[in-house]
């Protein structure tokens, strides 16, 4: 036990002396969550558009007013000729051009049927798809107004929509579980694999192995401080998401922390495995990045929906622990699930950790004999 504490102490001094890394490790979750929470929103305001109004009648004016009043659009140019919209895309950086044909109003009133044309810049598909939804909603509002003034009841079915779990449609809800996962991987897997690899690289590992300290104490003593750090970060993230972004924790907080600790073990086992097969810090870094970090970003379903992916990638996603952890964390945090609802996720993560741990221990033994 004394040996373990000595190793722990040594590692803590290492961490404390490298203040830059320590600062970055603690600042990273903060910056990530603030970035995701404040700057990354799918809502767009004041998108520049051009409107070519060939009708110039009361209805077309009303439609233009509807666009302006929505707040989503800023009309920067009223070209006389539809061809000018072409130039506006390059010169005025507009995102969409709207052409209202001649006789728009008269057709609308007599034939009940009219058309507008929308030209969108799809080079940024993220922006374009949001703007298209806005345009559709503005136009359908406009239709309703026209119909109301003509005393038609257009839609006799009332539709009420209830947004379950996230009534304000806050995008942070999606990101918080993902950020917790990434931070855990960076701190627990990446940092512990690098510090072990550093001992190998500088040959201090050999020195430690010839001391009477047991191998298991060395490994555990080196990994525990990073687990503590990542738990601290996780609590920080949860704190910010609750106090700054008003995200509720519906489920049991202890269950949530238990889940985090289990995932931490999975990540630490992965880190151990990486360090046991790499000779230098660079090796460890690259293997963790390619083997764990990248798959987590791409295949965990937190940035990109898994439903859309080809079948083979969906299977790949099942192999990595992150997907299961994110599913479980979401269930507990947002849906208020209890242990009965998520025990199978916990089991999967536990099995993954045991397998990884067994594998890395046999790797370390193999090395020692060489």
């Amino acid at each position: 036990m004394k040996e373990l504490i000595a190793i722990l102490q040594k590692e803590l001094i290492h961490i404390y002396r490298d203040k830059v890394s320590l600062f970055l490790v603690l600042a990273m979750p903060l910056v990530l969550i603030l970035l995701f929470g404040f700057t990354i929103s799918t809502e767009i305001r004041n998108a520049k558009i051009s409107v070519c109004d060939l009708a110039q009648d009361a209805q077309s004016k009303a439609l233009i007013d509807a666009f302006r009043a929505s707040g989503y659009f800023k009309i920067v140019h009223f070209p006389q000729n539809p061809n000018e919209i072409n130039h506006d895309f390059k010169e005025k950086q507009i995102k969409a051009g709207i052409i209202i044909p001649a006789h728009f109003g008269s057709q609308l009133l007599s034939d009940k049927e009219s058309q507008i044309q929308v030209i969108s810049d799809i080079s940024d598909i993220n922006v374009a798809s949001v703007l298209n939804n806005y345009i559709e909603s503005v136009v359908s509002h406009f239709e309703e107004e026209v119909n109301e003034s003509g005393h038609y009841s257009d839609n006799p079915i009332q539709v009420s929509i209830q947004m379950l779990y996230n009534p304000e449609l806050n995008s942070v809800y999606m990101f918080v579980p993902g950020i917790i996962t990434l931070i855990m991987i960076i701190i627990t897997a990446l940092m512990s694999s690098i510090t072990l690899a550093r001992e190998t690289e500088t040959n201090t590992m050999r020195m430690m192995l010839i001391t009477p300290v047991k191998k298991i104490y060395i490994v555990v003593g080196k990994v525990i401080p990073y687990m503590g750090l990542s738990l601290l970060s996780t609590i920080m993230i949860l704190g910010i998401s609750v106090w700054v972004f008003k995200m509720p924790i519906e489920g049991n907080i202890f269950l949530l922390l238990l889940l985090c600790i289990i995932f931490m073990f999975t990540a630490a086992s992965f880190g151990l495995l990486v360090s046991s097969i790499s000779n230098t810090q660079l090796d460890a870094m690259m293997i963790t990045m390619m083997g764990l970090f990248l798959p987590t970003v791409l295949l965990s379903g937190f940035l990109f929906p898994l439903d859309n992916m080809p079948f083979i990638f969906q299977i790949l996603a099942d192999i990595f622990p992150a997907k299961w952890f994110i599913l479980a964390i979401k269930d507990v945090m947002i849906k208020g699930a209890g242990i009965a609802d998520i025990w199978h996720y916990i089991l999967i993560l536990a099995v993954m950790s045991v397998v990884l741990l067994r594998f890395s221990m046999s790797q370390i033994d193999k090395r020692r004999k060489q």
């Binding site: 830059v20 298209n132 209830q162 990248l294 439903d307 599913l327």
Partner: protein, 371 residues
């Protein structure tokens, strides 16, 4: 000149002998090109939908059928009760539940405007928003069809249809945005990451001290480090362009020469940044953290994955210091919109100013250290 050539030769030898670095240089672009475009797809294509039908009328059945025909929906089928519905939503078996009240058809025929309750799983806010839009569309088009059937309705409501024309990306394909984005990520990683780690390694194993005591001048050292990685970055970029063309069929719409020029200037910014970071960090771990930290901020704010239009003003100001957002803009302009050199002058000059600034900062701090 001869000194620089020697240094470049040394650097290439080092890269060539370093199996790991070589494999990164070769494998990274391939992996990114194979995995990214297939996984990075935001489009909401699949919405799982379930129904609670308390009416059991022919109308509700027709409506359910209408949803089944729509390519966006996967019909989970009928659900017995609200409780069961919520349990299914908890298990992610359904994303939306549509509930028909009893007497739905009768009320509708009597003009009583019955209410349709939709419950959405809103954890993924985008999916909830877009999905409910899809549902409303299906309902209103269903209703329009029904109305045509009802002959006694003489007063038809006015209707504005929208015809859409998509420019620069006719098929609305995410790959067309993501694949050029990968090129940007690739060049950034080679530039900043590999350079920073390479120089810090020299520092860690002490070979940088040997260089400092040799008659190599400091700008020799700088050039001797930058030129090889600049060449590697350009080679990677060109390989990436070819992969983009032959695997994904995305060809550069604008001037390739302008694109290469812009890339070389952007690489200078990233190399300078990598050099600077290597000077301020003490070991590889630190260097990696700093690069990684900046990289994540750069990518998230560059508009590759999420629109930058929605950012608050203060974030837009911060973004003026983000070289990646300028390069992303250039890539979009040249690759997708077919711009020439003149169209990208403004971001190009910005990148150039950035490269001068960061490289002189690096050089200054290097000579400071050398003393």
């Amino acid at each position: 000149m001869r000194v620089i050539l020697m240094l470049i030769k040394k650097e290439f030898l080092q890269v060539y002998r370093n199996k790991l670095l070589m494999s990164i240089l070769i494998v990274a672009p391939l992996v990114q090109f194979v995995i990214f475009p297939f996984t990075a797809d935001y489009e909401i294509k699949v919405v799982k939908i379930g129904f609670i039908d308390s009416d059991h009328s022919s109308l509700t059945r027709q409506m359910v059928e209408k949803f089944t025909y729509s390519p966006y929906f996967i019909n989970y089928g009928f659900i017995e009760s609200r409780d069961q519905g919520e349990a299914l939503m908890m298990q992610d078996k359904v994303d939306f539940i549509i509930e028909f009240p009893s007497h739905f058809e009768k009320d509708l025929m009597n003009g009583l405007s019955p209410q349709l309750a939709i419950t959405a799983n809103a954890i993924n806010s985008v999916k909830a928003g877009i999905g409910s839009g899809y549902i409303k569309n299906v309902i209103s088009s269903f209703f329009n069809e029904q109305k045509e059937g009802l002959a006694n309705r003489s007063a038809q409501p006015a209707n504005v249809s929208i015809s859409k024309v998509y420019w620069y990306n006719e098929q609305l394909n995410y790959k067309n945005l993501i694949v050029p984005g990968i090129l940007v990520i690739l060049v950034t990683l080679i530039g900043a990451y590999v350079t920073a780690l390479n120089i810090v390694r020299e520092k860690e194993i002490g070979t940088i001290e040997q260089m400092n005591v040799s008659p190599i001048k400091k700008w020799h050292f700088l050039l001797g480090k930058m030129i090889p990685f600049w060449i590697l970055g350009m080679v990677e970029f060109i390989i990436g362009l070819l992969l983009m063309k032959f695997i994904f069929g995305i060809s550069v719409q604008g001037s390739v020469g302008a694109l290469l020029l812009c890339t070389s200037v952007y690489l200078l910014v990233m190399l300078g940044l990598g050099f600077f970071i290597s000077l301020v960090s003490r070991n590889q771990l630190q260097a990696m953290f700093i690069v990684f930290f900046l990289f994540v901020v750069f990518v998230l704010m560059s508009g590759l994955f999420t629109p930058t239009e929605g950012m608050p003003q203060w974030a837009k100001y911060i973004n003026y210091a983000n070289p990646m957002s300028f390069f992303m803009e250039i890539i979009k302009l040249i690759v997708m919109k077919g711009a020439g050199l003149m169209d990208v002058m403004k971001p190009l000059i910005t990148l150039f100013v950035m490269s001068v600034f960061i490289n002189s900062a690096a050089l200054l701090s290097y000579s400071e250290k050398k003393k």
